[in-house]
Subunit: 329 residues, 2 copies
Amino acid sequence: MLTERQSKILKYIVEKYIKEPVPVGSKILSKVLKCSSATVRNEMSALEDLGLLEKTHTSSGRVPSEAGYRFYVDNLMELKKMNAEDMMRLQIVFKNQQLALSDTIAQSLQIISDMTNYTTVVLGGNSHENLLKQIEVVPIDEESMVVVIVTDKGHVEHKSIKLQDVSTEEVKKTVSLINNLISGTPIDEVSAKLEFEIKPIIGNYVKQHEQLYNAFYHVFNDYSSHDVNVMGRTKMLEQPEFSNNIEKIKNVFNKLEDKDILNSIEEDGDNNIKVYIGGESKIDDDVTVIKTRFKNGNEEGTIAIIGPKRMEYDRVVGMLEYMKENIER
Amino acid sequence: MLTERQSKILKYIVEKYIKEPVPVGSKILSKVLKCSSATVRNEMSALEDLGLLEKTHTSSGRVPSEAGYRFYVDNLMELKKMNAEDMMRLQIVFKNQQLALSDTIAQSLQIISDMTNYTTVVLGGNSHENLLKQIEVVPIDEESMVVVIVTDKGHVEHKSIKLQDVSTEEVKKTVSLINNLISGTPIDEVSAKLEFEIKPIIGNYVKQHEQLYNAFYHVFNDYSSHDVNVMGRTKMLEQPEFSNNIEKIKNVFNKLEDKDILNSIEEDGDNNIKVYIGGESKIDDDVTVIKTRFKNGNEEGTIAIIGPKRMEYDRVVGMLEYMKENIER
DNA sequence: TATTAGCACTTGAATAAAATAAGTGCTAGG
DNA sequence: CCTAGCACTTATTTTATTCAAGTGCTAATA
C-alpha cells in the first residue's frame, strides 16, 4: 500500500502529466508538498520500484506507467462532475422528445467528442440479443429486390438480391412464411431455422426453391450483426502523442476502421463503467477506452470514449456516468 | 503550344516525379534527350515561364505545377492498360453472379484501393434522381416504430420515430395512403407532397394527425439522400506528402468525413472520366480526385479514386475505365 | 541561330561541436 | 527521517561547417 505522501505524489504526477505531456520533476513537487526535492526524489524512486512511475531517460522527470494510471483510476481519482455549461449543451439534446433514442445518443456523443477532443463510439447490442421482428421485401425490377430485416430492438439491415425465374407471388409467400414461423428468433439462429423449417416447406410449391432459399440464407448470414457508429475519428490527431508519430496514427485509424475490434469493446460483461488503459484497450499502447453499457426499455448497447492513455479520466468517467443516467431514463 | 522537345521534358518530369517525389534536374534529362544539360535548362526555364513547372527553391530541380499536371493529363499522358494479374483479381469479383451490383462495386473498389494505395469512394446517385418506391412501418413497441424507405434504385433508409396516442391502424392507413399517392415521387419532393396531398386527408380521420404528419415529414427531410462509401481511408497516410504533415492529414481526413464534400464530387455533369487536380479537387491542394459516373439498368452513381496530386494518372484512369466497362455490363 | 562548356552562386541537408536546461542519484550531516 | 549539496546524465537548442545537387549566365562553338 502507498503512504499518504506517495499517493499524493502519484496523483499529482498523473494529473500534471495529463494536463501537459512533459515528465514531472521533483522540484515542482517539493513546492506542493512543502518538503525538499531530495525527499521527493526518494519517494519517486520508491514509486518507480513499485512500477507506478517511469523515466523517459536516466535523468528525466517521472511519467506514470500503465500500472500508475491503473492505480490512479482505481484508487486516487476523484470523480469530476460536468460543468454547468457542458451539461446545458447535452440537455438540449436529451430534452428533445422528438428524437429516437439512437439519434439522441449519437448527437450527444458527437457533442462530447467536440467538447473533449476524444473519439466516441456507440455499439448497438449483439446479434444474439437481437430477435428477428419482421422482414419485408420490396421488388425493384424483374430480377432484383431489396430485403429489409427489422429486429425487435429497431435495428434495420438491408440487402439487395437477384433472383431469376422466381415470381413475386412465390417471394411474398415465402416472406410471410418466414414472418409467421421464425419471427422472434435470435438473428444468429435464423439461418439454421431457415434450413430446417422453411426450406422443406417452400420446396413443395416454389420451382426455384433452392435459389430462393440461398438468397435468404445469405441475407441473414451476412447480417453484419452490429451497429457501429464512430464519431470524431480525427480528434485523435489533436493528441500530441499521435500527431508526431505516423505509425501510431496508422495503427489507431486502422483499428477504428475494424468493426471486429470495436465490437470487442462490447464483450466485457458488466454494466458499470469500465476503463481499459493502454495495452488493455486492444487498440494501441497509448490509447485508453472508457465504456459503459446502457439499457433503455428494449434498446441496449454500449457507449465508449476513446482517447490517449493520457486521457482526463476523472472528467470522462463523469461524463459517461451522466450520459448513462440520461439515456436510461 | 509546346515543341516536341518541351513535351518530352514535361512528360518525363511529371512521370519521374510521380515515381519519386524528388525535384528533377537537368542532368538526368540531358542523358535522356541526348543533348547538353544547358540546353535542357533553357527549355525548363521556358516551361517554367509557361507556368508548367516550378522550383522548390532557387537552385532546385523542377517539379510539375498544377497546370503542368493538367497539361500532362490532357495532352501527354498515354493510357495504361491494367496488367493481367490485377485484372484477374477484379474479375473474380465481377464474375460472381451472386453479388448485388452495389456489393460488386464495393468489393472491387476495395481491391483497387489495396492495389494502388489510394482511397476509393462510391457515391450512390442524387436524391432528386431517386424516386420513392415504397415505405414500410414496423412497430417496435407501444410508442416507437421503424420507418423504412426504399427507392426505385434499391436504396434503403430507415429511421425510428416515436408517437404517442396514435393507433397502429391509423399508422397503417397513412402508410398505404403514402404508398398509393406519392410513390414514384423524387425523394426530395416528398416532403412537399406530404404536406399538400397527405396532410389534408389524414387530418380527417387521425386524431393526432399533426404528430403523425410531423414524424413522416422529418423522416423524409432527414433522408440523407446519399450513399457514401469510402474505402481505404488510411491509404492516404502511405503517401509521403501527407505522412510528414499532420495539418494536411487532418484536413484530408476531415474532408473525407464530410459527406457534403464527397457528394459534391458527384455534381459535375458529364459521364466521362474526369480528373480534378489539386485545387480543383475541393479536398486539398495536394489531392487529386479522378471520377466517373456509371449506369447499369436503373442503378447509377459515381466511383472515384482519391490520391495525392502525384497520382499515377495513367494507371488510375485506365483502371477507372476498366471498372466502368465492367460495371455497365 | 541553336547548342554547349564552364563557372560562380544558391540552397537544403547532413554532420559536428558547444552551450543550456532540467533533472537524477548519492553522500554526508542535521 | 529529512535535506543541502554536488557530480553526473541526457535531451534540446544553437551555431558553424561541409557537401551535393542544381541553377543562371556568359562566351565560345557548330
